[in-house]
């Protein structure tokens, strides 16, 4: 759920004011307050929010919980740019709404303030608004409703994942290959590649343009072309994408084989074929000798040597159709 990006225009002013009011008011309607922590409305924070507001998009996300939810209710949200975020959790129960406590946590750390709670009919709403500017604000945000049981809804914020290849790429010495890393609908600030030799990370020397060429026709993918492969180029290649809100990486395994690798099975099979041919021809020569035929044992069909004065001569005149019965001539 995203608000449409773009300039806010005339609707802009009310929201930050509302935000400030809410922040200033603290957390309305909860029973178990600790000592009221000052709302994070230090001057610089307010200014920061105002300053950043106009060019950030708004991410709105909802979760619904009931008193009977016994499966973890989660939502994964992929973010790559700083945004304003609005998270809403609603809780439906048949019991008394007043006995329900709502709290928010970021990564198990209790959030003191910045959220509001509202009750309408049988549904309790709680909303938390904040801004994600860098990787420190990424993580898991959870809303908790305490009745008899505790119900939890979690929003997981992550940077886009990279996809390399799950199977190793197999090449031969002297070939070139292209390793591709991509992510869905993303535009990282920067891409880098590393080569893992054993456990040592070796950055690639991109200056060697006759060996490595990094290109990326689209913003959402990067291609590493490696030429004149040798056996030292084997191993895992890691592609690294840097976003404003964090980093993401994945690896591709490269195997460089020499011709000896398939050559061994090839020679084995070829030897087997030679053996087969030898066996077949030897068997034939053996059976020929056994029957003592005056055959020349040559492989070429000698049509002219057909001896029609053979003792079987008479049956030779049977015509060559399907031997169904005896013939007329």
């Amino acid at each position: 759920m995203r608000a449409p990006p773009g300039p806010r225009g005339p609707t802009a002013p009310p929201q930050p004011l509302l935000l400030l009011c809410l922040l200033a008011a603290g957390r309305p309607g909860s029973a178990d307050d600790g000592p009221p922590a000052s709302p994070f409305t230090s001057l610089s924070a307010r200014e920061e929010i105002l300053a950043r507001y106009s060019n950030l998009s708004l991410e709105s996300h909802n979760l619904s919980l009931t008193e009977y939810s016994n499966v973890a209710v989660e939502k994964n949200i992929i973010l790559q740019r700083p945004s304003n975020v609005e998270l809403t959790c609603q809780f439906t129960t048949s019991g008394n709404l007043n006995s329900v406590n709502a709290t928010w946590r970021k990564d198990d750390e209790l959030i003191e303030n910045g959220y509001l709670i509202n009750a309408t009919g049988k549904i309790l709403y709680t909303q938390y608004m904040f801004t994600i500017i860098d990787s420190k604000q990424m993580g898991n945000y959870s809303c908790f409703f305490h009745e008899e049981k505790e119900q939890r809804g979690t929003f997981n914020f992550k940077v886009p994942e990279l996809h390399g290849k799950n199977k190793p790429v197999i090449t031969y010495v002297g070939d070139s290959t292209v390793l591709i890393c991509k992510c869905q609908e993303c535009a990282p600030l920067n891409w880098t590649w590393y080569h893992m030799n054993g456990s040592v990370q070796v950055p690639l020397d991109v200056q060697m343009s006759d060996k490595y060429v990094i290109s990326g026709p689209n913003a959402n993918e990067t291609r590493l072309k490696i030429m004149h492969l040798s056996e030292e180029d084997q191993g895992a290649y890691w592609c690294h994408a840097i976003f404003q809100l964090g980093e993401s990486e994945d690896h591709i395994d490269l195997a460089v084989l020499t011709y000896l690798v398939p050559l061994k099975p090839f020679l084995a099979i070829a030897a087997e074929v030679v053996l087969l041919v030898a066996i077949i021809l030897l068997c034939e020569m053996y059976t020929q000798k056994k029957k003592n035929r005056p055959d020349d044992g040559k492989e070429f069909e000698q049509i002219e040597q057909l001896k029609s004065d053979d003792s079987n001569g008479i049956e030779n005149n049977v015509p060559r159709y399907r031997k169904n019965e005896s013939v007329g001539q």
């Binding site: 199977k167 197999i170 090449t171 031969y172 070939d175 084989l257 011709y259 690798v261 398939p262 050559l263 099975p265 090839f266 099979i269 070829a270 074929v273 087969l276 041919v277 077949i280 021809l281 034939e284 059976t287 020929q288 029957k291 035929r293 055959d295 492989e299 070429f300 069909e301 000698q302 049509i303 002219e304 040597q305 057909l306 029609s308 053979d310 079987n312 049956e315 030779n316 005149n317 049977v318 015509p319 060559r320 159709y321 399907r322 031997k323 169904n324 019965e325 007329g328 001539q329």
Partner: protein
């Protein structure tokens, strides 16, 4: 061992069936499974799909047009050395292909070299097979041709597995080793001398006599017509199913169903061809007509059950017509001229095969769906069976089959030999 002059109808003949089985597997199974390499070649050479598919097309074209060469050489030297040489050529082509650095390299090594190797193996083997059998000829043909279908099942996953372990270069090297078995198959083709052989004469004389042989020419025309329509479902069925909103997985399953019924059809037809008295041509007409009808009905069927039933029928009948088509030839021209005959037929009917798929594609582009393509394919098949009806002795109902010996002596009379 048949040193005499009768088709043995068994004995060593069954080893020849085995050899033919493996050969059709190694030639056509490899060709059909080549699509596995397709994706790799497109990625590695950066060429468009159309140019990569030329590799298989050149291979098939060389194999078919080169068939007469294989036939002529077999008539002169016997099938064994020719097939063994063909096996070496086919394997050599694949071996050289594993070192390829460009697509042209692959055209020449796989297309030209391996294609020539295949041309020297397939036709002589089938011809040799028909010389070894007369009473059980259709069954032997049917059993041997099942190699094509079974190998497609086996080779595609095998090649895929090899690709994931050895990449395309290593896989081509190993396919070359596998193709070397063609040499072993060739070694099984023991020479057989039959009575008609001296009467048939040398290859040049045989070719000349065949080209003057009316029934043979009509048979060739019929097979060409049949070939034009035969391949169309294989090429266009999946696309037609997609047009009908089928998902890819059930569509692929339907193709497997067709492949299985094709296998069954081949064996049943082979058996039937030997059991039923009378000219085999009648069975060919039966199967061809049924195939044509089932093809023409394809556009009419909309419901899934009807389509599956039609697919089974098409698979069965089209598989059934193949062994009978081959085993009919010796009846027409005699086993003495079988090598040259088969070579000529293969070469001419390949024209039909090459024309069929593009014609069907063109019809689809013009009309917007596959109805016209399927109906035209069915029409070609029916036309082929129509031509077959005109063959001599077609309507003989009496048990003795027509005497191909007469046909042979008819054609050979000009040569002045009065043997019978």
């Amino acid at each position: 061992m048949a040193r005499g002059s009768e088709p043995p109808d068994g004995g060593w003949g069954w080893m020849v069936v085995l050899s033919a089985f493996f050969q059709s597997a190694l030639v056509f199974g490899v060709l059909r499974s080549f699509s596995v390499f397709f994706v790799e070649f497109v990625a590695v050479f950066g060429e468009p799909a159309a140019r990569v598919s030329w590799i298989a097309s050149i291979g098939i074209a060389v194999q078919q047009f080169g068939s007469p060469v294989g036939s002529v050489l077999s008539t002169k030297f016997g099938p064994r050395p020719v097939v063994m040489a063909g096996g070496v050529l086919a394997a050599l082509g694949m071996l050289l292909a594993s070192f390829a650095t460009s697509l042209t390299h692959l055209y020449l090594s796989i297309g030209l070299l391996s294609g020539s190797g295949w041309a020297l193996t397939f036709t002589p083997t089938l011809a040799c097979l028909s010389r070894y059998f007369s009473r059980l000829r259709s069954l032997a043909m049917g059993l041997a041709l099942t190699g094509v279908g079974l190998s497609s099942f086996a080779f595609a996953p095998l090649f895929q597995w090899l690709l994931s372990h050895y990449a395309w270069r290593g896989t081509l090297l190993l396919v070359s080793a596998i193709s070397l078995h063609l040499v072993a198959c060739g070694a099984l083709l023991r020479p057989l001398s039959l009575t008609e052989d001296p009467a048939a004469g040398g290859p040049g004389a045989q070719l000349a006599s065949l080209l003057h042989h009316g029934p043979f020419l009509r048979y060739t025309v019929a097979l060409t017509l049949i070939n034009t329509g035969y391949f169309i479902p294989y090429v266009h069925l999946v696309a037609h199913l997609r047009d009908l909103d089928w998902d890819p997985l059930p569509a692929a399953f339907l193709l497997s169903v067709i492949a299985v019924s094709d296998l069954v059809g081949r064996v049943v037809s082979g058996w039937l061809g030997d059991v039923v008295p009378g000219p085999v041509a009648r069975l060919l007409v039966l199967w061809t007509t049924l195939t044509g009808v089932s093809l023409a009905l394809f556009p009419v069927a909309q419901a899934p059950t009807a389509l599956v039933a039609l697919a089974v029928a098409y698979g069965f009948t089209s598989g059934a017509l193949t062994p009978v088509a081959f085993s009919m030839l010796p009846e027409l021209v005699g086993t003495g001229r079988i090598y040259c005959g088969l070579g000529l037929v293969q070469m001419v009917e390949s024209i039909g095969g090459l024309l069929g798929a593009p014609l069907s594609g063109y019809l689809r582009d013009v009309t917007g769906n596959y109805t016209a393509s399927f109906v035209v394919a069915g029409a070609f098949l029916l036309a082929g069976s129509g031509v077959l009806i005109t063959l001599p002795h077609f309507f003989c109902v009496s048990a003795p089959t027509p005497k191909p010996q007469d046909l042979v002596t008819e054609a050979l009379d000009p040569q002045g030999l009065g043997e019978d």
